[in-house]
């Protein structure tokens, strides 16, 4: 577990294994709120520069005259133990940055798709994305104050997700509730792994 790439004799340093979970969902569904609820540090913010084509990292630097776009990412961190660190990434607001979604999803444990029952359709692109790529995901219905509380099965029917996908109710502001959501996702990923074995 502790082996690292080192070019100096005797220079072995512990470098942890990173894992990540993607927090997806439409605009205003509470993604950053959920990251904030469980992260051990205040959510961090970083940016990636993309050309309009969204592929040319090589072309981005120093091209003042070309069209570039900034994609913002917010993320949090949970140190699991000295050898494992978990990162929680919220998906960028604009769904057109699929390039960034692919990078976020690469090697991920899975995704939590947050749903606001007042705007169910805003979560459809996220569901499509993870379904098509075969990445494990669960649905977490963020129970906003004042929003009508629906039955889980009603929401499942409206979202048209299959029975095997866990669907849970949550309060994204609440640490225990957000923890429960993450636990559900990790268990779902393990169940899928067992089913494939």
């Amino acid at each position: 577990m502790v082996s690292v790439e080192s070019e100096r004799p005797g220079g072995e340093l512990l470098v942890p294994t990173p894992v990540k979970i993607v927090i997806a969902g439409g605009f205003g569904t509470g993604k950053t709120t959920m990251v904030n609820a469980v992260s051990e540090i205040p959510p961090l913010h970083t940016e990636e520069l993309l050309t309009e084509a969204g592929v040319g990292v090589d072309d981005v630097l120093g091209l003042e005259q070309k069209e570039t776009t900034t994609v913002a990412l917010d993320f949090g961190r949970i140190t699991i133990n000295p050898e494992v660190v978990l990162y929680l990434f919220g998906t960028p607001g604009q769904n057109r940055f699929w390039f960034m979604w692919d990078e976020l999803a690469y090697g991920a444990i899975g995704a939590v798709i947050l749903v606001d029952t007042r705007r169910l359709d805003s979560s459809f692109p996220s569901i499509d994305f993870f379904e098509r790529r075969g990445i494990p995901f669960i649905i977490a219905v963020n129970c906003f104050e004042g929003a009508h509380l629906y039955e889980v099965e009603e929401v499942r029917r409206a979202l048209d997700v299959e029975k095997g996908i866990p669907l849970v109710l949550c309060d994204a502001r609440d640490r225990e509730s957000a923890k429960t959501v993450l636990v559900n996702l990790i268990q779902h990923t393990m169940d899928r792994l067992d089913a494939m074995a």
């Binding site: 340093l13 470098v15 949970i78 699991i80 990790i186």
Partner: protein
């Protein structure tokens, strides 16, 4: 230590010029194994500190404890692509180590998932 060729830019030059200057116009090579969450850690001291820029040294300071590429970018407040270029320099020089990419599973295995599950339950 930022290099004499940096004299021509100032605050008014805009956000795209500064990242460009920071990496002195180089757009490659990027180490392909540098992803958002790749863990990087600095060696106790750089081999030849005079050859490093202020930004390189800031990374060395930050990475005394292991950090992800994304965290380094966030703390330095520069775009990810710039941090990847600077980290690639430091890895090349042997001043920063990353986990041997061949040992990192592309998808977490069951033992790793169990550790994460226990860890999340424990927070």
């Amino acid at each position: 230590m930022a290099g004499r060729e940096d004299w021509w830019y100032d605050e008014a030059a805009g956000p795209l010029v500064r990242p460009y200057a920071m990496v002195r116009g180089r757009t490659r090579p990027l180490r392909p194994e540098l992803h958002l969450v790749t863990q990087v850690r600095a060696m106790p001291s750089p081999a030849d500190p005079d050859a490093l820029s202020v930004e390189h040294l800031e990374i060395m300071e930050l990475c005394r404890r292991p950090l992800s590429v994304a965290e380094v970018a966030a703390y330095l407040d520069v775009p990810l692509v710039v941090v990847k270029v600077l980290l690639s320099d430091l890895i090349q020089r042997g001043d920063v180590v990353i986990r041997d990419p061949s040992r990192v599973p592309q998808v977490p295995d069951r033992n790793l998932l169990q550790a994460v599950l226990d860890g999340v339950r424990g927070i």
